[in-house]
Subunit: 270 residues, 4 copies
Amino acid sequence: MVVTAETIRKTTNDPLVIAGRAYSSRLLVGTGKYKDLEETRRAVEASGAQIITIAVRRTNIGQNPNEPSLTEVLPPSKYTYLPNTAGCYSAEDAIRTCRLARELLDGHDLVKLEVLGSEKTLYPDIPQTLAAAETLIQDGFKVMVYTNDDPIVARKFAEMGCVAVMPLAAPIGSGLGIRNPYNIRFIVEEATVPILVDAGVGTASDAAIAMELGCDGVLMNTAIAGAQNPVLMAQAMKKAIEAGREAFLAGRMPRKQYGSPSSPLGGTFF
Amino acid sequence: MVVTAETIRKTTNDPLVIAGRAYSSRLLVGTGKYKDLEETRRAVEASGAQIITIAVRRTNIGQNPNEPSLTEVLPPSKYTYLPNTAGCYSAEDAIRTCRLARELLDGHDLVKLEVLGSEKTLYPDIPQTLAAAETLIQDGFKVMVYTNDDPIVARKFAEMGCVAVMPLAAPIGSGLGIRNPYNIRFIVEEATVPILVDAGVGTASDAAIAMELGCDGVLMNTAIAGAQNPVLMAQAMKKAIEAGREAFLAGRMPRKQYGSPSSPLGGTFF
Amino acid sequence: MVVTAETIRKTTNDPLVIAGRAYSSRLLVGTGKYKDLEETRRAVEASGAQIITIAVRRTNIGQNPNEPSLTEVLPPSKYTYLPNTAGCYSAEDAIRTCRLARELLDGHDLVKLEVLGSEKTLYPDIPQTLAAAETLIQDGFKVMVYTNDDPIVARKFAEMGCVAVMPLAAPIGSGLGIRNPYNIRFIVEEATVPILVDAGVGTASDAAIAMELGCDGVLMNTAIAGAQNPVLMAQAMKKAIEAGREAFLAGRMPRKQYGSPSSPLGGTFF
Amino acid sequence: MVVTAETIRKTTNDPLVIAGRAYSSRLLVGTGKYKDLEETRRAVEASGAQIITIAVRRTNIGQNPNEPSLTEVLPPSKYTYLPNTAGCYSAEDAIRTCRLARELLDGHDLVKLEVLGSEKTLYPDIPQTLAAAETLIQDGFKVMVYTNDDPIVARKFAEMGCVAVMPLAAPIGSGLGIRNPYNIRFIVEEATVPILVDAGVGTASDAAIAMELGCDGVLMNTAIAGAQNPVLMAQAMKKAIEAGREAFLAGRMPRKQYGSPSSPLGGTFF
């Protein structure tokens, strides 16, 4: 195969576009669970992420003026903030949290909506999430939505006007990888907005698999923060996301049930 | 976790050492199945490989002086050549092929031994491979050996003096990925020489998984040459190998059966 | 372990109870896709099923008095009929279909509700299904509900008053087996009503796995009707369901990463 | 599909033939690891097994006349004894053990050969097993051989004259199920003697999967003896083996990536 102009364009200029803004990195990272803000900063930098998600109910981004703020080590001028509603178990709570974030961040309207349905599995509550998304969109927010891996639900969020749909790979913080690649594939095939895997990635290959399935990006936190060496894992994830994206664009070899020689022997020397 | 001097050393200087020689790349590539020598060259370069394997019975490295030789586009001065015995179905054939390679390559003694047992699965014939390895080692060759994923057999090859043991992930050219990660893990745990996965990798995540299991490297050919865009896939594989290695060194998060919040809510703001 | 009275009770009297009625068989079967009514009858008999599901929009159970009726070969006196809403893509359609079934079957109120969201994946439309379930329950129906494998959604259906929750294993008619055993396990762990896997089973082992995960039963159609020999497959499924149930009750051995001798050699003869 | 005479023959008379003798049961069981001989007897009976394997170095079948003998509870008149060489780590030991068994059992020549290569994985030592098999066959034994899942090795054992080839599913006693179904499939496809999965089965579905892959039988011990209720698990295994066999003969439905309605709606009533 000749490397065409199209291919070159694809690999040298293949941005992730969310809510009209282009990002060269397809890895989005969380900021929780690190030892301290310094480790957070170093891991985020190693990840190459340009969008960072922040648990508004947990992370100080100005709510408490007397404590160190994330905004000092990871300034909003440099990173796109993605306030999230982690810990919200109702549409009402999630909506209130988004509004608080907008206030704290001077009118910032890009948010990650998650409404949880169980403390055990941390699975989303889809009816509550649908309700919250509807209100938030009407209220002018640009909603990236955390959801289960149901393709019908994913389509509903896209039709409703969410700017990105983010199905889980596995329960939040489980590190189990993509439990149901078929569903992620179904979601990607019908996607009209960017699809990002959110939650469940455990190691580099999990991230690569998400990208090979055609996802537009991956959001993770524990996989990096929970590694023995978070900064090195962040760097691994950066490469894994790029590797998976490039493998997707390159078009993998077909799978074969039997062997197929690398060096066919028609016309061998001896 | 503090990034220690040890960690820095590990990531900035973590060479693959084979037969006493250090390589910064852990990706070894084949040279067959490309459209032409130019594509071969470009894919190999994009892969960052420093060791390239050559099917002596198939590839012109001087046997036929009237045709273009691989040595012109990928000079042995720049790459470590790894002549292989692809297409050999007996110890005798494999030994003869290695000797021919040594002659053609002025005494070069590093070889990849494979003795196949079936045209359908391209699985190795272990008794024949053991016999050939023994003779070749006595004959002064440094043998990297293609084998099945049996940990006992792998140990035998290492004890015998092979300089690297290369279990298959899946049948040659199948692209099925690592069919039995348990076995690869067993082999790695008991390894006394470098373990490289050889055969069966289909896409970037497969390569990352091999490295996350603790393998020292991966050898592949069809996964790159058989992609729709081989050069882009070669670049993806380079990153995947690095990502997998770094994820292995970084120490992945533990898997958990249930969810675990990225942003625990003890002491939330509201 | 001594086989206790409890164990004996469990295996000789371990009924599936749905809507207050006990069934000795845990296999529910569909009646579609067979060659003719005679094959339907023979397969259903071989399966040992006591509950049979009927696509009201498709199967003649009296709508057309001039054609052979399923009621003649599989009489409602012998089988519990489970009319289903296959082919309905809205709550409204599904409700209407259930009411028609009740009329045709003289007040029969046990139904299987499915509201589909896509012709491609045949995934359920959860918001529509929730709405339909609510109306049907208020209307006096006993609702067994086809759903995705989201544990939060499953809990909602149980809380609402559905008499059984039936998560999919994989898309209807795909035969892919249980794509996400974790989710089925989560659903079973929190179940307050019977959980039956519905859709996606392809062969006998798939059915056994569902039961080993703790499900109360399995509903299938294509896995039997689409086999080359449906009657023999029905018999296989009967045994697989029983095998899986008994294995679940028997308590499987723990998995171990390494080998463990069947015949430990402390105190051997020689 | 019409159920032909052929099909009826297949299911009502589908014996496993080993060394010229026909068995209606395809489940072979070990006799180790039970609480006492009484539990051994009851589990073996529940399993329906007709061939029972006995670790000659461990189990009293007459070596010690002062202790209870297995022959009393499971008489050789009723069961085909399959003495095995569990615990042997060299060809020499294994051969000696087989000869002892023949002596103890009055010329009985059917044996299960296993020569282990590692106490950790309990993987077989293939070169030692090949050597032992050769000697034993020359010595008049009918050898059923425990091997890894390498299709080339399996073929060698069959060509050599072994009466059955028994690849592992996973390490002995691990209960991990069939780690590499591709290899088992390859072995079955080329089989000229019965193929029985030996070792690694953990629960009923694992046994069913082995049979669905086309294996002729399964040998297990820990999966039954290590269950919380061994007798109930033995009964589950009996059904699982039959279910898997029948599913194999019935010819499963094809797998489809997308959904396919059980009740197609062309010509629906409304």
